[in-house]
C-alpha cells in the first residue's frame, strides 16, 4: 500500500447561497494518477483552490502528508510538497524562462532571503534549471522572456515551475487549456514522463487525454462527487453519462 500523501475530508464551500463544494472527500497516494472531470461549473477549480490554499473552505479539512494544513497559507503548503499549475497561464512576463525556473529553485532551497550573492553565483542550480528545461524541450528558448514564447510552450514552463519544486503532490489545472492542436505533443510527453512516485491530480476536459493518462477518475457534478473509480468503470457508469448529457 503506497503512502497517503493528500487527503480532503468533507471539504465544503459556500459563497452565500451558492453551495459550490459539497462534502468532498478524496484520497491521493504516491504514484496516483487521478483525473477530476465534470461538466462546466461543477466546482473543479474551486476544489483545487481549496486544496492549494488559494481559497479557504467553509468546513472540512485538507491533510498533506498526514498533517492538517487547512489553516496554513498557500506558501506553507508549497513548502510541504504541494505544487500546482493554473488554468490560465500565470508567469512573470518579462523574466527570462531560465531565470524564472531558477527562481523556483531558489524558493525551493529557501534562498530567496539571501540578499547579497548575485543570482549568477549559483552554478549548480542554474544547471538544474537548464536540465529541466531541456527535458521539456524548452532548452532553446531558455533566455527568452516568457511572454515571447508560444502559448503551448508557456504551458510547459508553467509545468516546469511546478516540477522544479520537487513536489510530492502535483495539481494540474487543465494543462492543455488553450493549447493549439500542433503544440500539445510536448505537453503530453511531459505528462507521461512525470516521476512515478509523484501523486498527480489533473483537471481536464480532453477525454482522450483523461483516458490515456488517468489510473483513476473522479467525476464532480454540482460540487459533489458523483463517481470515483477506474476509467473503465466510469466510462460505463450511466450516472456519469446523465450528468454530462443532462446539462
Amino acid at each position: 500500500m503506497s503512502v497517503l500523501l493528500l487527503e480532503t475530508r468533507e471539504l465544503d464551500k459556500r459563497y452565500g447561497g451558492l453551495h459550490v463544494t459539497r462534502k468532498v472527500s478524496l484520497q491521493l497516494h504516491a504514484g496516483d494518477r487521478l483525473a477530476l472531470i465534470g461538466p462546466n461549473g461543477a466546482g473543479k477549480t474551486t476544489l483545487v483552490n481549496q486544496i492549494s490554499g488559494t481559497v479557504a473552505p467553509t468546513s472540512g479539512s485538507v491533510w498533506l502528508g498526514g498533517e492538517d494544513v487547512t489553516r496554513r497559507p498557500q506558501a506553507e503548503r508549497v513548502r510541504a510538497g504541494l505544487a500546482r499549475t493554473f488554468q490560465i497561464t500565470t508567469l512573470a512576463p518579462h523574466l527570462e524562462v531560465q531565470r524564472q525556473v531558477e527562481l523556483a529553485l531558489f524558493e525551493r532551497e529557501g534562498l530567496t532571503g539571501r540578499a547579497w550573492r548575485s543570482i549568477d553565483g549559483y552554478p549548480v542550480l542554474a544547471a538544474e534549471a537548464k536540465g529541466l528545461l531541456s527535458s521539456l524541450g524548452l532548452g532553446e528558448h531558455a533566455g527568452w522572456p516568457t511572454e515571447r514564447l508560444a502559448y503551448g510552450e508557456q504551458r510547459l514552463v508553467e509545468m516546469a515551475l511546478a516540477l522544479a519544486l520537487r513536489p510530492r503532490v502535483l495539481l494540474l489545472d487543465e494543462p492543455m487549456a488553450g493549447v493549439p492542436q500542433g503544440e500539445g505533443q510536448r505537453l503530453l510527453a511531459a505528462l507521461d514522463a512525470l516521476p512515478s512516485d509523484l501523486a498527480v491530480l489533473i483537471i481536464e476536459h480532453d477525454m482522450d487525454l483523461v483516458f490515456r493518462f488517468a489510473k483513476r477518475i473522479v467525476v464532480l457534478a454540482e460540487g459533489a462527487v458523483l463517481a470515483d473509480g477506474t476509467p473503465e468503470a466510469i466510462r460505463n457508469d450511466p450516472r456519469v453519462r446523465t450528468a454530462y448529457l443532462g446539462h
Binding site: 500546482r84 512573470a92 531558477e102 530567496t112 539571501r114
Partner: protein, 303 residues
C-alpha cells in the same frame, strides 16, 4: 563605479556649483530608494517623502541635542527611515494598487501633520536649525564652499547604489521582481510575499532616511517640506523620467530634472514650469528609449 568617476569629475571641475552637486547627489539617493519600491517591487507610492523627512529630522535632532558627529547622525537617520518603513509597511502592504497608493499618501500626511504639531522637537513651520555638524571622520570640516559636503554626499550615494545593485541582483531581488510581475505565481512557488516586500520596503526606508540625514547635515536645517507631498511627487516624476526599475534610471532622471529645473529657473523664474511641463509631456509622447532604438537600428542597417 562610473558614477564615482563622474561625481569626482563634477566635484573637481565645478567648485562653485558644489551646492548643486550635493543637492543632486542627495536627491538621487532618495529617488534611488524610491526605485526599489516603485521600479523593483512594483508598489506605486506617493508617500515616500515621509521616510526622507524622518531621516532628516532624526539627524537634525540628534545633532542638536546629542552629538554632532555626522556619521553617527547618518546611522540615526538610516535607523529612523528603516523603522518608519517597517512600521508603516507592515500596515500598508496588506493593500494593493490604488488603495495602497492613497494609503501611502495618508501615512505621509499624518507624519507631516504630527511633525508640524510637535514644534518643540521639530521647530514646526520655522524648521529645525541651530546645529552645526562636527568634522567628518574627525578630520574633514564642513567648509563654506561645500567641498566636504559634496564629497560626503557622493560617497554615500555610491555606497547606496552599490548596496542596491547587489540586493537587486540577488535571489531576494529576483524574488521581489517576480512578485512585481506576478504575485500569484510567486505565492504558488511558496514565497512569503508580504515578508519579502516588507524587507525591500525597509531597505528603501533606510536609503531614504540616509538621504534625509545627508540633507539635514549638509544644509544644517530641516524644514517641513522634507515631508511634503510635493517632494514625493517630484521624486516619482524624476524616477519615471529616467526610467523605473533599472536603478541607474533614478540617477539619470534626477540629473536631468534637476538641471532642467536649475536652467529653466535661471532663464525665467516665473515661467520655468512651462519648460518642465512641456519637457515631461514631450518625454512621454516621444520616449527616449524609442529614439535610442531607432538610432541603433539606423546604425545596424548601415553596417
Amino acid at each position: 563605479m562610473i558614477l564615482l568617476v563622474i561625481g569626482l569629475l563634477a566635484w573637481w571641475a565645478l567648485p562653485d556649483q558644489l551646492g548643486l552637486v550635493t543637492r543632486i547627489a542627495i536627491t538621487a539617493l532618495f529617488v534611488l530608494s524610491l526605485d526599489l519600491v516603485v521600479g523593483i517591487a512594483g508598489l506605486a507610492t506617493l508617500g515616500h517623502a515621509a521616510l526622507f523627512g524622518v531621516g532628516a529630522y532624526a539627524a537634525g535632532i540628534f545633532a542638536l541635542h546629542l552629538h554632532v558627529d555626522p556619521l553617527l547622525g547618518l546611522m540615526v537617520a538610516i535607523a529612523a527611515g528603516s523603522l518608519l518603513a517597517l512600521a508603516s509597511g507592515a500596515f500598508l502592504l496588506r493593500y494593493h494598487g490604488f488603495t495602497f497608493l492613497m494609503l501611502t499618501v495618508a501615512v505621509a500626511q499624518i507624519v507631516a501633520s504630527l511633525a508640524q504639531k510637535a514644534r518643540d522637537w521639530t521647530g514646526g513651520d520655522d524648521g529645525l536649525s541651530g546645529f552645526t555638524m562636527g568634522p567628518l571622520l574627525g578630520l574633514f570640516e564642513f567648509d563654506l564652499e561645500g567641498k566636504t559636503a559634496a564629497l560626503y554626499a557622493l560617497v554615500v550615494l555610491a555606497a547606496g547604489l552599490y548596496v542596491s545593485r547587489r540586493v537587486v541582483d540577488s535571489p531576494f531581488g529576483l524574488a521581489v521582481r517576480g512578485i512585481h510581475e506576478n504575485r500569484a505565481r510567486m505565492a504558488a512557488l511558496g514565497t512569503p510575499v508580504v515578508r519579502r516586500l516588507l524587507a525591500m520596503y525597509t531597505l528603501a526606508g533606510a536609503l531614504a532616511g540616509a538621504a534625509g540625514g545627508l540633507s539635514a547635515q549638509t544644509n544644517a536645517i530641516v524644514g517641513l517640506d522634507s515631508l511634503s507631498f510635493a517632494l514625493s511627487a517630484e521624486a516619482l516624476v524624476m524616477l519615471i523620467l529616467g526610467g523605473a526599475g533599472r536603478l541607474h534610471g533614478a540617477l539619470i532622471g534626477t540629473v536631468v530634472f534637476t538641471l532642467l529645473h536649475h536652467t529653466a529657473a535661471s532663464i525665467n523664474p516665473y515661467h520655468w514650469l512651462f519648460i518642465i511641463g512641456a519637457a515631461l509631456m514631450a518625454v512621454v509622447l516621444l520616449p527616449p528609449q524609442k529614439a535610442w532604438a531607432w538610432l541603433r537600428s539606423r546604425r545596424g542597417a548601415k553596417a
